[in-house]
């Protein structure tokens, strides 16, 4: 590149003329009388003009006459300002009407006055297109920002908005602040903002702390009581923000809202809600009781009815009534549990859990639910002790729920229950319990909502499986209350599901020898034969101990048992006698019927004693306190079954059969 060859032409073109002519910024150079001296090529091409048409023409004439769409007034303003101030004046955003249907365009105009010793010689006007409507908008905003904000802040009545200096003294005061706090600007400016704080907050040094936090975090928000000038209180939401200018801290802005009304509304809402929740749980408990009582009446009448000689068809129908009645009872109990759980009034007790006992009792209870040919297997990690500290009633409830679900959804195959410890330290275990079935399984999309209340796997119109949809949700809450979790995954080996839950249980200081489970857990299939017939076959060979302190009741029970076919009946009149007889005949006895309230030792104490002596004879509780929760407590104490008083013969027969058949 030969620089020398270029320079002549450069020097030749470097004149005022070409400087203006060649600038890409559309430019017009005016003389002092505002006539056009020079025009840039970019200006000409922009407006599609010839240089001859412009030179010598007055600038306003050109712009007005040529219909260039330029806002003449704005241009004039720019020129006049530049001329009078002798400074460059830029006027942003001058709108240019589009030609025809073209969208309007926006221009920035810059008027550059050129003086020579106080005398105006030239004015150069440059036009620069601003790119978009948005930018235009922005420019507009910038123009008004300060004024707008000041005006807004001043006039806002619902918010107290004011500035504090770095020490926390009030610097500005708006109308909202005056209305809310009752001070006029004159009264408060210069005072410290802690004036607004209550005595308690001052004692707690809240203003100082807020300033500290605000300086550290840039912002602090607080909701508490504040004082008005007249000493009255209001519930305030306060946002304090640090304000910096050029990196120097210059103070704080403070926005205070009066939330007294909202707070009052909130507390009204809360108390209304609490009242409603209380009413709801009272209503539920009441209704549950009201429904349960006639249900029990109906079911016991039904038992008597099935005792009479019925045609096969009638027997089938009574069977249906009984089954539906039992389902209804389950539903009612579920709802009662749920209402307690959601009200947070569900106690978790600490007691002894005998894991094999609970498992075997659950297995027994689930047998009637099993579909034909489905078996239940139980296995337990041998390193896990049989007895741990926890809530046996709730542990049993969760397990029972999972097992009966498995039974409900398994048409063939088996259900496996496995217990093991996932974690152990000096004091506790995480007891993991797994229920594996070979049932219908659960598709992925539904598995997410499994533990949500009121949802069910099967929501099809032909809903095959009954229930409230509360069971798993109750189980989840219970597992969590016991320091564990609950979960589900598909059965990895075959079709079906694996439900598991964990429970945090404490170790017992000494371990008690494991109860023999195998006998109790032998699989049986459910027989359609009348249980009383079956019972009368096996009863004569069985030995039974009846502990009942009321002679009248004892006589009636003995008579009833004889009626069921029992020939060997021992009786005890109090708990201590029962313990003694149970120990004495531990090898001969097949079942114990135990009244709950008896003198000397009550039925529960006697059961604990008997179990402590290592006697594993099934014990069936007899009591008039027929509350659902009690049943769980008896089972947890080591009892195996429960019959409520006055004793219904059919129920007694069912329970006895269940506990005698497996030998």
């Amino acid at each position: 590149m030969d620089l020398a060859s270029e320079s002549p032409s450069q020097s030749e073109t470097l004149t005022g003329h070409s400087l203006i002519a060649l600038t890409p910024i559309p430019t017009v150079l005016l003389d002092a009388s505002l006539h056009i001296l020079l025009v840039s090529a970019s200006f000409l091409s922009l407006h599609n003009l010839a240089a001859e048409a412009c030179i010598g023409v007055g600038v306003y004439e050109l712009m007005g006459a040529r219909g260039l769409g330029l806002d003449v007034a704005s241009v004039q303003c720019a020129i006049e300002t530049a001329r009078s101030t002798k400074k460059v004046h830029a006027a942003d955003a001058i709108q240019v009407k589009g030609h025809g249907t073209a969208a309007p365009r926006y221009w920035a105009v810059r008027a550059i006055p050129m003086f020579e010793k106080e005398t105006l010689r030239y004015i150069s006007i440059e036009f620069q297109e601003t790119i978009s409507d948005d930018q235009m908008q922005q420019a507009n905003n910038q123009l008004d920002t300060n004024d707008t904000y000041r005006m807004l802040v001043q006039t806002v009545k619902d918010y107290a908005i004011f500035m504090l200096d770095t020490k926390g003294n009030v610097k500005t005061w708006n109308q909202g602040a005056a209305l809310l706090k009752g001070y006029t600007a004159e009264e408060i400016i210069g005072k410290h903002f802690s004036t607004f704080y209550t005595r308690e907050d001052l004692v707690a040094e809240k203003p100082r702390k807020e300033i500290e936090i605000c300086l550290r975090d840039g912002k602090v928000e607080d909701e508490s009581w504040r004082l008005r000038r007249d000493g009255s209180r209001f519930w305030a939401n306060v946002i304090l923000t640090s304000v910096y200018r050029n990196g120097v801290h210059i103070g704080f802005s403070k926005v205070t809202r009066d939330l007294t009304e909202r707070k009052a509304a909130e507390s009204r809402l809360v108390s209304a809600y609490e009242e409603a929740a209380k009413l709801k749980s009272e209503f539920l408990a009441n209704m549950t009781h009201e429904i349960r009582t006639p249900m029990h009446g109906m079911l016991s009448a039904l038992t008597l009815l099935t005792d009479t000689s019925l045609l096969p068809e009638q027997r089938e129908l009574t069977g249906i009534i009984e089954e539906s009645g039992n389902v209804l009872l389950d539903v009612i109990n579920d709802i009662l549990d749920w209402s307690k759980l959601s009200a947070g009034t569900f106690p978790i007790n600490s007691d002894v859990i005998n894991i094999p006992d609970v498992v075997s009792s659950v297995v027994r209870g689930s047998r009637p639910l099993l579909n034909h040919g489905v078996s239940i297997d139980v296995s337990s990690d041998p390193s896990l002790p049989t007895v741990v500290h926890g809530d046996p009633v709730r542990y049993r409830q969760v397990l029972n729920n999972l097992v009966s679900n498995a039974a409900k959804f398994t048409d063939s195959g088996s259900i496996r229950i496995r217990t093991y410890a996932t974690k152990e330290d000096d004091l506790s275990y995480i007891l993991q319990t797994e229920v594996t079935d070979t049932g219908i399984g659960i598709s992925n999309p539904t598995s997410g909502s499994l533990f949500t209340p009121f949802t069910q796997f099967d929501t099809s119109a032909t809903k095959r499986y009954k229930g409230t949809g509360l069971g798993l949700s109750i189980s989840k809450t219970l597992a969590e209350l016991m320091g564990g979790t609950i979960g589900f995954h598909a059965n990895p080996q075959t079709r079906g599901s694996v439900f598991w839950f964990s429970v945090n249980v404490a170790k017992l200081p000494t371990t008690i020898p494991a109860a023999v489970l195998t006998k109790a857990l032998a699989s049986t299939t459910i027989s359609p034969v009348d249980p009383r017939e079956l019972l009368s076959e096996i009863a004569p060979s069985k030995r039974l101990l009846l502990a009942e302190d009321n002679l009248i009741n004892q006589k009636v029970m003995v008579k009833m048992l004889r009626g069921l076919g029992f020939e060997h009946i021992h009786t005890a009149l109090d708990g201590a006698q029962a313990v003694q007889l149970a120990k004495q005949h531990s090898l001969l006895l097949d079942v114990i019927l135990m009244d709950i309230s008896m003198p000397i030792l009550d039925g529960m104490e006697a059961t604990v004693e008997i179990r402590r002596a290592g006697v594993n004879i099934p014990i069936i509780a007899l009591t008039a306190n027929a509350l659902e929760g009690d049943r769980e407590i008896y089972l947890a104490k080591g009892m195996n079954g429960y019959v409520s008083k006055p004793v219904d013969r059919q129920k007694l027969a069912d329970v006895l059969l269940r506990w005698l058949k497996c030998d």
Partner: protein, 155 residues
Amino acid sequence: MPGGEEHEEERSEEGSFVLDLGDGIDSLTFEQILEMDDDDERDFSKSIVFGFFEQAEQTFKKMDDALKAKDLKDLSSLGHFLKGSSATLGLTKVKDSCEKIQHYGQGKDEEGTTDVEDDELCLKRIKETLETVKEEYEEVEKVLKKFFAPPQGSG
């Protein structure tokens, strides 16, 4: 007892267990006892019912004594005791009253749900309930004695 003769008539129609012994007795439960009789002589049920009369009278006496001694605990367990046998026989009203006595004796209200701190109040309630239960008892006693009475004449 205006309904007495009707009872006899219904019973004479044997087989159908439609018994109405008044609202103090739950017929379903009572019939269960009757069904335990080996024959029509009603030996068993009669012995039970008359055994109950004896037990009830003894218990009421014990309750009177315990009331004098202001022994709430004893009153409660006596209430529970008689509740058990009256429930077995289906003597609903007697059973309910005994249950109340049981609860009052535990320092609770009638339902056994709320604590009542005032012992004197509990004793007062027991006293009232004891009077009621004695009346209720006398009523069922009459009905049952009539029921078990040997058939008179042609009926």
